[in-house]
């Protein structure tokens, strides 16, 4: 076998192994959700079992999955749109009109991600209480948008950097205002980058648990709160928890699958140009 072909084979083998390792917990959760509680906790892992839907029925009986799912969709997409509205002009300014402090500002923005959120929980909670934002969609949309803003600005900044400055300058010579530059030139040229940034933001917001557990109770509680409510009861709960988790990640998994092409294109944008 020629070495290049063997190399290719090794690489794809390695790829499959890594992919399997990454995917294994999800697969296991998925399988567990179809087991009886007894099977689920049995010491010997087995993949041959009598599948049952009883966990799903139990989960749906105890909590209205669709209301939680709807909340998750509203909050994660809402926060992503809100964050993009602020991040696009910010990244545009930083990418094309950098000042001496642009680099520092970017780093500082990222550094805010290092602060444990619990550090600001009390003030945020009190502010939200006074503004009556507790347990509201708007409240979580704002918090998630702020939470993801640094990463979104960073990602958009790197994507915008890829757009040749000359093209925007040509737009300026043609009489485009900054807003028109964004609308007619920069945004259409950065669709893959903006899409993958948005996708990442949706996923991060979808998975966020800390703020959603602390700032919501019933009305605006998203799927993370839904899962959490299955982890505490007495008795056996592994299979039910798995079912709840599977239901919680299913929408985002399907969404991610559908937008896979955009995501990959966006994440490798700089590399293949």
């Amino acid at each position: 076998m020629p070495t290049s072909q063997r190399h290719k084979l090794m690489m794809s083998l390695l790829g499959w192994v890594v992919a399997f390792l990454v995917f294994f917990p999800i697969l296991w959760m998925f399988l567990t959700s179809f087991k009886t509680e007894l099977d689920a906790v049995s010491g010997t892992p087995n993949i041959f079992f009598e599948p049952t839907l009883e966990n799903y029925a139990a989960v749906q009986e105890r909590a209205d999955y669709f209301r939680f799912a709807m909340n998750s969709i509203i909050i994660s997409f809402g926060s992503t749109i809100l964050a993009l509205v602020f991040a696009i002009p910010a990244a545009y300014a930083m990418a094309f009109f950098p000042s001496k402090r642009t680099r520092g500002t970017l780093l500082w923005m990222l550094s805010t991600k290092m602060l444990p959120p619990v550090g600001v929980l009390v003030p945020v909670y009190l502010i939200f209480r006074d503004l009556q934002l507790l347990d509201s969609h708007l409240g979580l949309v704002i918090v998630f948008a702020l939470m993801n803003l640094p990463i979104i600005v960073w990602m958009l900044f790197t994507f915008f950097k890829e757009v040749p400055k000359d093209i925007l300058e040509a737009g300026r010579m043609d009489g485009a205002s900054p807003r028109q530059e964004l609308r007619f030139i920069l945004i259409p040229l950065s669709v893959p980058g903006i899409a993958s940034t948005g996708l990442l933001s949706v996923i991060l917001a979808w998975n966020e648990a800390f703020w959603s557990l602390n700032l919501t109770t019933v009305a605006a509680a998203p799927l993370t709160a839904f899962i959490a409510s299955f982890s505490s009861p007495e008795g056996l709960f592994w299979a039910k928890l798995s079912a709840a988790s599977t239901m919680a990640i299913a929408p985002i998994l399907i969404f991610g699958w559908l937008s896979q092409k955009q995501l990959v294109r966006g994440l490798t944008f700089g590399a293949v140009k």
Binding site: D166, I167, A170, G171, M173, D174, G175, A176, F184, P188
Partner: protein
């Protein structure tokens, strides 16, 4: 219709002054070419005129109106970028119509104007393509078309042809010159290419390290360079420079002695110079002649051929004379000298230039008639 006036223009980046106190007048419909070594500030100057770069000091006026603070589109200029800078997501037609669309021109009128420009530039079959489906030359034409459609008062070009191959460059050069004639627009053109500068310009501006060295018509700069820098920059291959000392100063010229004692009489005024002062003798490769040994006289330099480049129609010889100084010679294609051949070079003093040690040229006693060829129209019957 546009005249441009630059008065004491400055550009500062941080604490580096990249343009210092630059003043320049550009007449209506003039074709002005900016040349200078890399990093001397040509692009910066052009971008300040365009409004893409803030002007740190001084006044820029177009048609006697100060435009320092006007945004680019209100200055009535169009720019053609070296990278073409076409909008990759728009068709050729949309690229050319973009400015009109922003200005709120109706669709029919836009299409009419784009059609007109496309006809001039032979772009009609390409109007529905995206830029990535065009060749380099076609992209360049679209970029020019985009400028034309706006009917600007002034066209700015920053090395527009440098990404094209040689043949296409010649073709586009001619096309731009033709456009200049038919559009009656003022054009400012940055280039590195000697031929473009010499053939297209009404006026060449030679820049060096952020200031203007000399402004003049191409042949004026060629025949009457005011400094060593301009002399070395205009003309290809580059002018030869030889160390010399003043031998005598007279009313009919200045005589210099080379290191081997050879005397050369140059028709320049030696005012302020005295015998023994160090000067630089400049002689263009095309003004040097190789002479056969049997015709040698005392005034020839003996040397050796180091490199011979034959272009078919002409030959460039790189020779070593006077203890290691190199002299380049441009001669006819039929020269038979080979590497390491002995050679005798004759310097014709009448075509030489002299430069003081501060780099300034000693003024010539008479103007070269070629330098004023285009300056004044020849009156009918004047020849008789």
């Amino acid at each position: 219709m546009a005249t441009l006036t630059l008065r004491n223009i400055k550009k500062v980046y941080g604490d580096v002054e990249v343009i210092q106190d630059l003043s320049l007048d550009i007449e209506d419909r003039e074709f002005v070419v900016l040349v200078g070594p890399s990093g001397c500030g040509k692009s910066t100057l052009l971008r300040m005129i365009a409004g893409l770069e803030e002007i740190s000091g001084g006044d820029l006026s177009i048609d006697d109106e100060r435009v320092n603070e006007l945004p680019p589109d209100r200055r009535g200029l169009a720019m053609v970028f070296q990278s073409y800078a076409l909008y990759p997501h728009m068709t050729v037609a949309d690229n050319m119509a973009f400015a009109l669309r922003l200005a709120g021109v109706s669709r029919e009128e836009r299409m009419a104007k784009v059609g007109e420009a496309a006809k001039i530039l032979h772009l009609e079959p390409l109007l529905d393509r995206k830029p990535r489906a065009l060749s380099g030359g076609q992209r360049q034409r679209v970029a020019i078309g985009r400028a034309i459609v706006r009917e600007p008062r002034v066209f700015l070009f920053d090395e527009p042809l440098s990404n094209l191959d040689a043949a296409l460059r010649v073709q586009m050069r001619i096309e731009i010159a033709r456009l200049h004639n038919s559009l009656d627009a003022t054009m400012i053109y940055v280039t590195h290419d000697q031929v473009e500068a010499m053939t297209m310009a009404d006026k060449i501006v030679v820049m060096n390290a952020g200031h203007i060295e000399q402004v003049g018509s191409p042949l004026d700069l060629y025949h009457h360079p005011e400094s060593l820098f301009v002399a070395g920059f205009i003309g290809s291959p580059k002018m030869n420079f030889i160390e010399a000392k003043i031998a005598s100063v007279g009313g009919d010229g200045t005589k210099v002695a080379l290191s081997d004692g050879t005397k050369v009489a140059v028709p320049v005024s030696g005012g302020g110079m005295s015998s023994g002062d160090a000067v630089t003798l400049g002689v263009r490769p095309e003004d040097l002649t190789a002479v056969a040994n049997d015709q040698a006289t005392g005034g020839d330099l003996a040397g050796r051929v180091v490199v011979a480049e034959r272009l078919g129609g002409e030959t460039f010889l790189y020779t070593e004379v006077l203890d290691g100084q190199t002299l380049n010679l441009k001669g006819p294609g039929a020269m038979t000298y080979r590497v390491n051949d002995a050679i005798r070079l004759r310097i014709d003093g009448a075509t030489c230039h002299l430069f003081r040690d501060d780099g300034k040229a000693l003024p010539r006693l008479a103007r070269n008639p070629m330098a004023d060829l285009d300056a004044e129209p020849v009156a009918p019957g004047a020849a008789g």
